[in-house]
């Protein structure tokens, strides 16, 4: 591969960093320029991540991964960025969500507080970095970058509710970061490395006493990641925080909880794979049980939700719990379908978060809160420069209702949208994988999948009736194209996932296959050809 393409791997980190830094220098009143820079950056990010996805997909099976050595230090000593199918998939998901939520925020939210665009870009940078890095401590640094940005986004728009939720959110995540540090340093103390591939390489050779210490380190690390993923009982902060934050922030947070799931999937399959000796499959049953309990909690939460935003927050829990439990079952095909479900449910939840605000305008009070916030921030200009952003669209209620139904179908996992394929694939794989004898836990999980879907459907129907049919007045709210288009785009992508289910599923299967052969990842990282050396493509 040519030199220029090798550097493409670091672009998803550098691009938002640079554009965020540049926007910091611009005056806060130059919103149009900032918005243009932000949108241009996210579009570029989307293009780059799709190129990376194609690059990752074109790698022949068994050839491992593409690496990028920062500072040109070889793998176990320097920090490497690692691109494989899973990382590329998450990058594309991030940039799709980034672009749609940024467009949505241009309608009004980006004016509701200072430095929105910079914080948003740094959030994307942290997410991309965390997906790409191949080093445990570097992962911590990117976690902190995205957390710091997310603190800004949670508080974006101000107001008592946000500050109160933000206080708990920051305290929880600081504690989580300490757990992360303890786990990472303990892992280093035991194995003497922070490189994930090298870590996997050294696990089988650990002395029994050290193996126990490493198990403790992994448990502490896992707690930190599960906290991020929203696994029960570490998730009481999540629905409150997500419901309190502004719509674009909540939509981008939909992928943040998936980051915890991603890290668990990556580290767990890599470090505790079949080669790990006495530690092989460590903690699998915890993931299964924790995931199922999270699903139960999320299901109850969905049914108990009084507001639509809280309902969306609880569906984040169901989605996380489902994927965690599917990882815990350990079956290959289950993980493939779970990845498909992860993508479609993340898109669906993000669309729902964006839609919530629009739907609540039907009821009135939601819009009032925003208006008050904008006033408090000192924004007298309301209708004057709205015109340049977009115009109100016809058939608003019909569009809102249609999107709402689509979201409900997606999250409940009903045909014809992509949520169905993911759930059905998981169930089919679970029934197939055990070869006739299906375990009790598998039946439980299948039951929970069905019940959580049903509960989501009931809750969404109830809120839908309240919002659309039982309205007090028949006034049509003002919804602009720029607000509606991102929601429709997200739902159309889900439709595309359904129509192109075959190729998408094939990609997920290939991803799972790569995850199940961690030795390819390890050899790929540790024996990578360094760009600038003699260029021979021969691998040992």
């Amino acid at each position: 591969m040519t030199g220029a393409l090798d550097h493409l791997i670091i672009v998803p980190i550098l691009l938002p960093l640079v554009s965020g830094a540049v926007m910091l220098l611009l005056d806060e009143r130059l919103r149009t320029i900032k918005a243009a820079i932000g949108v241009a950056t996210t579009i570029a990010l989307l293009i780059v991540s799709i190129m990376l996805l194609r690059m990752a997909d074109m790698m022949p099976p068994g050839s491992g991964v593409r690496t990028y050595e920062l500072g040109n230090w070889p793998a176990p000593y320097g920090i490497v960025l690692v691109l494989d199918r899973l990382a590329a998939l998450m990058l594309v998901l991030t940039s799709v969500l980034g672009l749609t939520t940024l467009l949505y925020s241009l309608a009004r939210w980006h004016r509701a507080g200072p430095r929105f665009h910079t914080i948003f870009q740094l959030q994307l940078m942290g997410l991309n970095g965390a997906f790409l890095t191949g080093d445990l401590f570097n992962l911590f640094v990117f976690f902190e970058v995205l957390l710091a940005a997310s603190y800004g986004l949670v508080l974006h728009g101000d107001g008592v509710g946000r500050v109160r939720a933000g206080l708990a959110y920051i305290a929880i995540n600081l504690t989580g970061s300490f757990l992360f540090l303890i786990g990472a340093s303990l892992a280093y103390g035991v194995t003497g490395t922070l490189n994930m591939a090298d870590l996997a390489h050294r696990i089988p050779a650990l002395a029994p006493g050290d193996a126990a210490l490493f198990a403790a380190a992994a448990a502490v690390l896992g707690t930190a990641f599960l906290m991020k993923a929203g696994a029960w009982p570490l998730n009481f902060w999540l629905p409150t925080t997500y419901a309190a934050s502004s719509a674009p922030a909540a939509a981008i947070f939909a992928i943040m909880s998936k980051l915890g799931v991603y890290v668990i999937l990556r580290l767990w399959t890599l470090v505790f794979g079949p080669d790990a000796g006495s530690l092989a499959g460590f903690g699998g049953e915890w993931l299964l049980i924790g995931g199922m309990l999270t699903m139960v909690f999320g299901t109850i939460g969905v049914l108990a939700s009084q507001t639509l935003s809280r309902l969306a927050g609880c569906s984040v829990l169901i989605s996380s719990g489902t994927v965690l439990a599917a990882i815990g079952t350990g079956g290959g095909a289950v993980i493939g379908s779970a990845l498909f479900y992860l993508v479609s449910s993340t898109l669906g939840i993000a669309a729902l978060f964006l839609l919530v605000e629009l739907v609540e305008r039907l009821r009135g009070p939601g819009a009032d809160v925003l208006a008050v916030t904008m006033e408090a921030y000192g924004e007298a200009e309301d209708e004057s420069d709205d015109k340049e952003i977009g115009v109100a669209i016809p058939a608003t209620v019909a569009l809102l209702g249609g999107s709402f139904i689509a979201c409900a179908l997606l999250l409940a996992g009903l045909p014809p949208l992509s949520g169905f394929i993911g759930k059905f694939g998981m169930m089919a794989a679970m029934l197939r994988s055990d070869g006739g004898t299906v375990q009790v836990s598998t039946w439980l999980l299948i039951g929970l999948l069905t019940v959580s879907g049903l509960a989501t459907l009931i809750a969404m129907t109830r809120t839908g009736i309240n919002s659309f049919w039982a309205r007090m007045d028949d006034s049509v709210p003002r919804v602009r194209i720029i607000e509606m288009a991102p929601v429709l785009a997200l739902l159309l992508i889900c439709l595309g996932l359904t129509v192109g289910g075959g190729p998408a599923m094939r990609y997920m299967e290939a991803t799972t296959q790569a995850l199940r052969t961690p030795q390819d990842y390890v050899t790929g990282v540790l024996s990578a050809q360094r760009p600038g050396s003699n260029g021979a493509e021969v691998r040992p």
Partner: protein, 115 residues
């Protein structure tokens, strides 16, 4: 002996930090977080093994006997962790003040307990 003192220090800091973290006043929470961060930083440092009188930086690159040197990596990690937790604590302090200003109380829930 130094291991014992070190372990006791980390333990006491962690215990006090966790206790303060669970207290209802925001100021107690922030002090608890600070104590926890000290404990964690010491812990990271300890993961490079405790050794007295051995430098972390190679002084004579020709003759390298790693046994004479202490592990420099945890010290670099501690530096990063200190900077990050310091910045986060400062940020938390701002949110704490905002919460105090908006709700008029320093209770973590934003309202006093029902007496």
């Amino acid at each position: 002996m130094i291991e014992l003192i070190f372990a006791l220090a980390v333990g006491i800091l962690t215990a006090s930090g966790v206790w303060l973290l669970l207290r209802p006043r925001t100021f107690q929470v922030i002090i608890g977080l600070s104590l926890l961060s000290y404990a964690v930083n010491l812990f990271i440092f300890g993961m490079g093994r405790l050794r007295i009188g051995s430098p972390p930086v190679l002084q004579n690159p020709e003759v390298v006997d790693p046994a004479l040197y202490t592990d420099p990596l945890p010290q670099a990690l501690v530096l990063t962790a200190i900077v990050i937790s310091f910045a986060m604590t400062a940020l938390f302090l701002v949110v704490l003040l905002a919460s105090r200003g908006l709700t008029g109380t320093d209770h973590v829930d934003g309202r006093e307990d029902a007496q």
